[in-house]
């Protein structure tokens, strides 16, 4: 950022006029980082509200005052209001008095990385000794079932070698109704027969779904039935770091499909439980999608995909993201 007002040093009361141009530059900076314009405008408005009529600190230019305020605004928007502890949640759910399998589904538009990141989550759960049932809920796209079969075979091999957890694939081939497959899978995982008093067959059920355009009303509305039949504990949406402005509409349109049978949006009215932002390794510093999707919905980012291998899944480090965005 090269600012016209770089040399103004300290003790200045900021007027709207002072702020217009440096804020415009700041907005352009965010746009270059692939933050959607709507989100960038909102962030700049909050910085303006924060700084208007404030005095700049000694030896501090308007630019650096704005940078500091923007870092704070970004930190605020990206920091989840409640933290998700997936492992603890799973442990509680599968423990007495009412043990049952913990169900997670993954949704998102075409090709963003749903199946791959589902496999990474499976790997993470296996490492923590859980028994995982992967469900081939994409009964449409060619090769979708085989893709998961390969992942489950690989992970099964790994878990045997490292003597952790266990993993299996639940599939009914192509053309079947995904919601029904998902429900049957949960029933199967809950099965106690043949487990020699070990309780249920599986601890976690991970359901993959077919990619769909968020402007395809028919496929989108089938998500509602899916959510109700499978009744997942967590619905995670995968959004890719590569996507531009469409991220905002993607997030909103997916979230609004997840209503319960009474027509109320799941998860306290926000619809879904978290975003997985994939392909972060492909965009350098342009990690704006993180901001855009949270801005659109208030739903937190829970994981980042940072590569194509099983270990390439991270929790969100807000400081890391803000550094990249402010660079």
């Amino acid at each position: 950022l090269t600012g016209l007002f770089r040399n103004v040093v300290g003790g200045k009361t900021l007027t709207k006029q002072d702020l217009i141009q440096p804020l415009q530059q700041m907005q352009n900076h965010l746009l270059e980082k692939n933050v959607a314009r709507e989100a960038a405008a909102r962030l700049c408005a909050s910085v303006e509200a924060d700084l208007l009529n404030q005095r700049t600190a000694n030896f501090t230019s308007i630019d650096s005052t704005i940078r500091e305020s923007m870092s704070k605004a970004l930190t605020r928007i990206l920091t989840p209001t409640s933290s998700l502890d997936l492992l603890r949640d799973v442990t509680t759910t599968i423990s007495p008095p009412n043990p049952r399998p913990y169900v997670i589904s993954i949704v998102g538009v075409n090709g963003v990385g749903k199946s791959t990141n589902l496999s990474k989550i499976a790997y993470f759960l296996l490492q923590n000794q859980f028994r995982v049932l992967v469900v081939a809920g994409d009964t449409f796209r060619s090769g979708a079932v085989e893709q998961l079969r390969v992942h489950v075979r690989n992970l099964s091999e790994l878990s045997r070698r490292e003597d952790v957890g266990k993993i299996e694939l639940f599939e009914k081939g192509y053309g079947k109704d995904a919601a029904t497959v998902a429900r049957d899978a949960v029933t199967y995982a809950t099965n106690t027969a043949g487990t020699e008093g070990n309780g249920m067959l599986f601890d976690v059920v991970l359901i993959d779904t077919a990619g769909r355009r968020h402007n395809d009303t028919r496929l989108m509305s089938s998500l509602t039935k899916f959510g109700q039949l499978a009744n997942p504990d967590k619905i995670f949406m995968v959004g890719e770091a590569l996507v531009g402005t469409d991220s905002v509409a993607q997030a909103r349109n997916f979230a609004k499909e997840f209503v319960d049978t009474k027509g109320k949006l799941r998860n306290n009215g926000v619809g879904m439980d978290g975003f997985i932002i994939s392909k972060c390794d492909t965009v350098g510093d342009m990690v704006g999608t993180l901001v855009s999707m949270v801005h659109a919905t208030g739903i937190p980012v829970v994981f980042l995909g940072v590569g194509q291998h099983y270990g390439d899944l991270r929790g969100l480090n807000v400081g890391w993201a803000v550094d990249k965005l402010m660079k």
Binding site: R37, S142, L242, T245, T282, V283, G288, T289, Q308
Partner: protein, 306 residues
Amino acid sequence: MVLQDLGRRINAAVTDLTRSATLDEKAFDGMIKEISNALVEADVNIKLVATLRKTIKASVKFHELPPHANKKRIIQKAVFDSLVDIVNPHQGAYQPKKGKSNVIMFVGLQGAGKTTTCTKLARWYQARGFRTCLVCADTFRAGAFDQLKQNATKAKIPYYGSLTQTDPVVVARDGVEKFKKERFEIIIVDTSGRHQQEDALFAEMVEIQAAVQPHQTVMVLDASIGQAAEAQSRAFKETADFGAIIITKTDGAAAGGGAISAVAATHTPIVFIGTGEHLLDLEKFNPQSFVSKLLGMGDMQGLVEH
């Protein structure tokens, strides 16, 4: 359809301006700003938007316009021309020849739609009388060969791939050699997704290319890509020197400005667009009609010939 909302907004901005009572320079600047905003929201690269803004200003020369000039028409033409200029790289794409083997290799980022589009394109040529086949040189992605196999089987197109060979260079070479011997006319080679940050993946792309010597390398781009489009496509261009672009998922809601920026950055023609997940969802791309469509046809269309 890609860019339609953008077109509507641009048209509205021009119309608003020419309808407003005081058509002065300030209103003109306001219009350019509104157009720039629309382009940014459509994911057009932000530096490219700045250039476009300058081009329009320079070609209209607002303060030099005589009082009775048809300002609306002059402004519309400037906007139209600068947009056509972006999607029209003034370069033709490779035309496959009947009676010889034309090798077409697909490259692109992860999940862009390469494998799906390979079969669509194969079917397109097959329907036009070419002997067409597919080679799966993606040995990395889980289930990649099954995906291509199932698509090819549905489309009744011969295919080659391996479940045991892990080196994509070997599979690509063997497949292309086999099909050349069998005198296939269009041999389409699918490769795995990759990105510029991973050198090994780019090196692999170069090796595959050296092994199959494609007549045409096609970059597949997702219509929803944002600001990363320019850097990635530039890197692919420098490394693989692709000669054509196919934009996929144009049936989505994205405006496609990122993909357009890739065209601008690489001066490479868009040859086809993908319009759905099914085999027949592929259309030929035409820059003139694309921009006319983008601008909502109407009175802009007459400008095409000028």
